[in-house]
């Protein structure tokens, strides 16, 4: 048998040349990458994957901007006791977004906070790629837009308007809950009355229809907005020595609280009850003493 093993060496010479130099480049590149920090490595891999996707997929310019901007650094200035701070933490964790948490001492506000939120000087503040966003509800809307995975708002405009209504309701009424431990006498009575009205409204209008969460089967921004009712209210009742939330009077709300606190991200990210109790008791004593 005559097998022709005579391959054309000349034609593969350029091929060998390219492979050899590519090999050298790959070696040099991997040596450089090896020396990078883990975060930089992740960012590099992320950028390269995005570039590959962009070259192969036809996408709108705005989508590209968002795709690239969602790779930028995320920082959250928060405070361990604040339900507003937790709203943002829950949203970031549910969407799997890596961020740096910065605990703020509100009695001695940092230059970073004062620079990032000069108007309100409050937490939480999200800093994305160096740009600050303030007000927890505004931050949540921003997070939803930049990182649309695990959606926290309905896509239907009407359903979205209803969700926003409830978030605003929570924003407007939640301060009554903290006023329960901050006040005494007539002021405290008013805080209790306002809080009960809020609970009643949620029970009668917000959780109608045997829903697991405000938006249906899945947790959403609305549930996070009512986080204070789910966890903070119980502690505040103990601080003030009052019973406000009676389970039999608010069966739907009671179910919702159980469902909410069972969501793993929520369960694993709540401030320690005993620590809260101790601090709020001290605060109450100081506030009442100064009156």
């Amino acid at each position: 048998m005559n097998i022709n093993l005579d391959f054309n060496y000349k034609s593969i010479k350029p091929f060998i040349f390219i492979c050899f130099h590519f090999g050298i480049l790959a070696l040099v590149f991997s040596l450089i990458v090896h020396r990078l920090s883990q975060t930089r490595k992740d960012a590099l891999i992320g950028s390269l994957s995005l570039i590959t996707i962009r070259l192969t997929v036809d996408a709108r310019p705005t989508a590209t901007l968002i795709e690239f901007s969602n790779m930028e650094e995320v920082k959250l200035i928060g405070m361990w006791l604040s339900p507003y701070s937790y709203r943002v933490i829950w949203a970031l964790k549910l969407k799997g977004i890596a961020y740096e948490y910065i605990e703020e001492d509100l009695s001695n506000k940092s230059p970073l906070l004062l620079h990032s939120n000069p108007v309100q000087k409050k937490i939480p503040v999200l800093i994305h790629g160096g740009k600050p966003i303030c007000e927890s509800s505004v931050i949540l809307e921003y997070i939803e837009e930049i990182w649309p995975q695990n959606s926290l708002l309905p896509s239907d405009p009407y359903e979205r308007a209803i969700a926003r209504f409830w978030i605003k309701f929570a924003d407007d009424k939640s301060p009554s809950i903290s006023n329960i431990y901050r006040t005494s006498g007539e002021e405290q009575e008013k805080a209790v009355k306002d809080s009960l009205e809020m609970l009643k409204t949620i029970e009668e209008h917000g959780l109608v229809g045997e829903k697991k969460f405000f938006g249906g089967d899945k947790i959403s921004m609305v549930d996070m907005a009512f986080g204070a009712v789910a966890h903070w209210l119980g502690v505040i009742e103990d601080v003030a020595g009052l019973k406000i939330f009676e389970q039999h009077k608010f069966p739907r709300l009671n179910s919702w609280i159980q469902n909410f606190k069972e969501v793993p991200i929520i369960k694993e990210n709540l401030p320690d009850r005993d620590k809260m109790l101790a601090l709020l008791k001290r605060r109450r004593e100081m506030l009442l003493a100064s009156e």
């Binding site: 966003i133 809307e141 837009e145």
Partner: protein, 218 residues
């Protein structure tokens, strides 16, 4: 099928005016129903059972409450012209922040001025500081929305009809303290959607005097 759009309104309400401006900007035909806050209609109580307040937009039978939420809804549904919110997410977040700031401050502080109680002087200081902060945000832009009116302009401009009241009740000196804001207000009125919807400052003053009397009687 034609869209059915109804607005539950109160002519003097700056919150309702926000919605009217948005509807005009988008060229939406709507029916306006006047409410009496001391004698609320069954429709209002049915459409906004929680707050029983205006404005309420009823779109094909479905109610939406809270003026800024209504404006966002209008912007999203009728997105064929005059976008009110920026498309860039960061710019959008800034617009939402400033409208929220206006919502939290202006009406409440203003009320303390025209109710004329002991806290009126304090309220006057706060109002000027608030307007100065807002004016700084405007900077040298034509409008808060840039080249044309946007979400923040819509949120703030209805209150410009109340400046006369604030001046008359407490001599606030808004024009001297915030000239850019006054210039912005004039510029806004050059837009038909705004000039059609804004109330007359003298009529507002008369209305608030009446309202104050009724509230004091309660």
């Amino acid at each position: 099928m034609e869209d059915e759009v109804v607005l539950l309104d109160l002519w003097a309400s700056p919150f309702a005016i926000r919605v009217k401006i948005a509807l005009e900007e988008k060229g939406i035909k709507y029916e306006c129903k006047q409410e009496d806050l001391f004698n609320k209609s069954h429709l209002l109580l049915e459409m906004n059972p929680i707050h029983k307040k205006i404005p309420v937009l009823i779109h094909n039978g479905k109610p939406i409450s809270e003026s800024l939420i209504i404006v966002q809804y209008i912007d999203q549904v009728w997105n064929h012209k005059s976008p009110l919110l920026p498309s860039d997410p960061y710019q959008r977040s800034q617009a939402l922040f400033w409208a929220d700031y206006i919502d939290k401050k202006i009406y409440g502080i203003g009320r303390r001025i025209w109710m004329g109680k002991e806290d009126q002087e304090e309220a006057k200081e706060e109002l000027i500081q608030t307007f100065k902060t807002i004016e700084r945000e405007l900077g040298d832009k034509l409008y808060f929305g840039g080249e044309s009116i946007g979400y923040v302009d819509v949120a703030l401009v209805p209150f410009t009809s109340w400046f006369y009241t604030y001046e008359t009740c407490a001599n606030c000196g808004i024009e001297a303290a915030c000239p850019k804001l006054i210039a912005w207000a004039k510029r806004c009125k050059e837009n038909e959607s705004v000039s059609k919807a804004l109330t007359d400052p003298l009529e507002i003053y008369g209305y608030l005097l009446q309202l104050k009397k009724r509230l004091e009687l309660q």
